[in-house]
């Protein structure tokens, strides 16, 4: 087998990562769109989300979506993290993250000089982005549990500063995830081979 063959057969994303990625995309989309409808029932900031960008039609419908998709989000996330940790993939792909690398790559990206030759290798900004969104997803799940069960898991709710504190953290974590999605989708569209890799593996 030649070096070229080995390189060609090397998958950028194993099947389990591709599957969990798209299931996660679906779960996150449902959670955010239904979450915006739920938010509208009692906004914590001086604005509401336009109803056309929400899911569920009204509070009761949105909650049904939210509390159905939460199981998908959690189960799928656990599978992804378990695989990523057990296989060493998370560590290999995302670590180490050095501030110097982030600053350098960010500057290069803003000048339009950031190379994307090897999509299996993440630059500093990408590493920060992916680790950041994973952290935000973990935070959104825990703050969500604190909102869902403030009596049964009172200690978790207390850790977020009570029920209203948990709502605020839940909203902020959502904002980070929504911001990530925006940038992530734009970047993927700019470098379409990354989309092909996330569907077909390479």
């Amino acid at each position: 087998m030649t070096v070229a063959n080995i390189a060609a057969s090397k998958s950028v994303h194993p099947a389990i990562v591709r599957l969990t990625h798209w299931l996660n995309a679906m779960a996150v989309a449902i959670m955010i769109l239904s979450g915006w409808q739920i938010y509208n029932a009692s906004p914590i900031l001086p604005f509401s989300f336009p109803s056309w960008m929400t899911l569920g039609g009204w509070l009761g419908g949105a909650i049904q979506w939210h509390f159905a998709a939460m199981w998908l989000l959690m189960a799928n996330g656990l599978i992804y993290l378990a695989y990523g940790i057990a296989s060493g993939r998370l560590r290999h792909r995302f670590l180490p993250i050095s501030p110097r690398e982030i600053v350098g790559d960010l500057a290069a990206a803003l000048k339009g000089k950031l190379a994307h030759d090897d999509i299996a290798h993440y630059n500093g900004v990408q590493k920060l982005f992916y680790v950041g969104v994973i952290a935000a997803l973990i935070l959104v799940v825990f703050s969500g549990l604190a909102i869902w069960k403030p009596v049964q898991v009172w200690w978790l709710t207390a850790a977020f500063g009570g029920f209203q504190g948990a709502r605020l953290v839940h909203f902020l974590a959502m904002s980070v995830i929504a911001g990530f999605v925006l940038v992530h989708v734009v970047m993927a569209l700019l470098v379409p081979k990354t989309i092909r890799a996330m569907i077909f593996g390479r």
């Binding site: 989309a29 039609g57 009761g60 909650i63 509390f67 049964q152």
Partner: protein
């Protein structure tokens, strides 16, 4: 109908019409008609979303699954957090499916009726309920909409009441029917929780009309819509009943 007799004479006609009007809410069950969001998801993920009615059915069965998950998570010995006098929310919010001025007024004839799987079906005057041992709590009311408020309630523990009327405590459910034609149902383990009370007093005063006079349920281990106001009938049974909001899609267990 029985419940009408329990209202004050002035409320008997007017309120009935109003309540009937509010019950005819603009077909909230058809929430999936608003499918713009679903289109967005389909576009994002490339996943075909099933049509409205089957999605609604799937969501309803997920809600039933969530009932079971919550019953399993419910710890009957876990108390809702209690607060200090200074933490009480003032003014305490009014919330219902109608405006405060339309809250029903109980008449002189008011009695709390008891039905279903109980030995003693004698009706209870408010004074008789006040003569029973009372429990006080300062707890947080968490609304499904997202807001919360801390209030001080005093009344009869539902557990004590159920024991006193000889209720079959192995029955699955306790249903509450209300003067404003509201209704809801809770599971027996939650009914027997020490903080579940039939509140007769708010902030050390007789329960005001806007907070559910003359008798309201207070269940700090469940979302606020389960704390039914203006209760006129308590029914112990094994028949699963969806109340006012549950019929429209709110989760039945609604535990905190």
């Amino acid at each position: 109908m029985q419940w009408r007799k329990l209202l004050s004479p002035s409320d008997r006609d007017g309120f009935v019409k109003d309540a009937a009007k509010s019950l005819d809410l603009p077909s909230r069950r058809l929430f999936l008609k608003r499918a713009a969001g679903i289109g967005t998801i389909a576009a994002i993920t490339g996943v075909a979303i099933v049509d409205g009615p089957s999605a609604e059915k799937a969501l309803a069965s997920m809600s039933k699954f969530n009932d079971r998950a919550q019953a399993w998570l419910f710890d009957p010995t876990r108390m809702a957090k209690t607060y200090s006098q200074a933490e009480i929310t003032r003014p305490y919010p009014f919330n219902a499916f109608y405006e405060a001025k339309d809250a029903p007024e109980a008449g002189e004839t008011y009695e709390l009726l008891v039905g279903g799987l109980v030995q003693n079906k004698k009706a209870w005057k408010v004074e008789a309920l006040q003569a029973l041992p009372q429990a006080t709590q300062i707890t947080q009311h968490v609304c499904i909409e997202g807001w919360s408020a801390i209030g001080k309630w005093r009344g009869v523990r539902l557990r004590d009441f159920l024991v006193r009327v000889g209720a079959d405590l192995r029955a699955k459910y306790v249903t509450f029917n209300c003067l404003d034609r509201y209704s809801t149902q809770i599971d027996m383990p939650s009914a027997l929780h020490p903080q579940t009370v039939l509140a007769l007093s708010f902030l050390d005063e007789a329960l005001p009309k806007m907070y559910g006079a003359p008798v309201r349920l207070r269940v700090p281990t469940k979302l606020g819509f389960k704390s039914a106001k203006h209760v006129y009938e308590i029914v112990v049974s094994n028949d699963y009943v969806e109340g006012f909001w549950e019929r429209q899609g709110y989760n039945w267990f609604a535990g905190l």
